[in-house]
Amino acid sequence: DQQVKQNSPSLSVQEGRISILNCDYTNSMFDYFLWYKKYPAEGPTFLISISSIKDKNEDGRFTVFLNKSAKHLSLHIVPSQPGDSAVYFCAASLGVGSGSRLTFGEGTQLTVNP
């Protein structure tokens, strides 16, 4: 049972345009969501997170939107840069701040073309 799904294995965008990565979840008890970025031969690095009490969180070029009724979150990158090319994972957890286990999606490979 895949509780967190990223239905697009890959996404290609032009430099300067917006990248939108999507993630769906099935467990309505998830209350904290995170996005990680992963370059080849490296571990994932934390990008941005959002608590279920919010519907938007912004950090520079990165914005995460949460739609609890649709059990959907998205990551917007504006403007996209070639250095953003990486695999992006969304993750969800139960219980903020308690070291809770993360459930990961399968990842989306983003390619930003110069």
Binding site: V4, P9, Y36, A41, E42, G43, P44, F46, G97, G99
Partner: protein, 110 residues
């Protein structure tokens, strides 16, 4: 701070061999985790620990064992390697919310 370090970076094992994947963090985090990532898949939790002396199974624990004798170290043991354990293994630590990952160990079992 070195963050989360993992050794070795690469390893090839024969079926039935044993090995220990090492993981150390210097951030004084209570929570530590072991994941595996298979091609085209997300990260699957193998084992986790909420503090020294306390460990618990994750989603895919079969074929693995862990121990947590100190806050810093969280080794993962493979007792009888099988081809299905060919994967990239990531260790992570957390102060509570975000998890910080090591660079990974690429393991091949032939």
């Amino acid at each position: 701070n070195a963050g989360v370090t993992q050794t070795p970076k690469f390893r090839i094992l024969k079926i039935g061999q044993s090995m220990t994947l090492q993981c150390t963090q210097d951030m004084n985090h209570n929570y530590m985790y072991w994941y595996r990532q298979d091609p085209g898949m997300g990260l699957k939790l193998i084992y986790y620990s909420v503090g020294a002396g306390i460990t618990d199974k994750g989603e895919v624990p079969n074929g693995y064992n862990v121990s947590r004798s100190t806050t810093e170290d969280f080794p993962l043991r493979l007792e009888l390697a099988a081809p299905s354990q060919t994967s990239v293994y990531f260790c992570a630590s957390s102060p509570g919310n975000e998890q910080f990952f090591g660079p990974g160990t690429r393991l091949t079992v032939l």
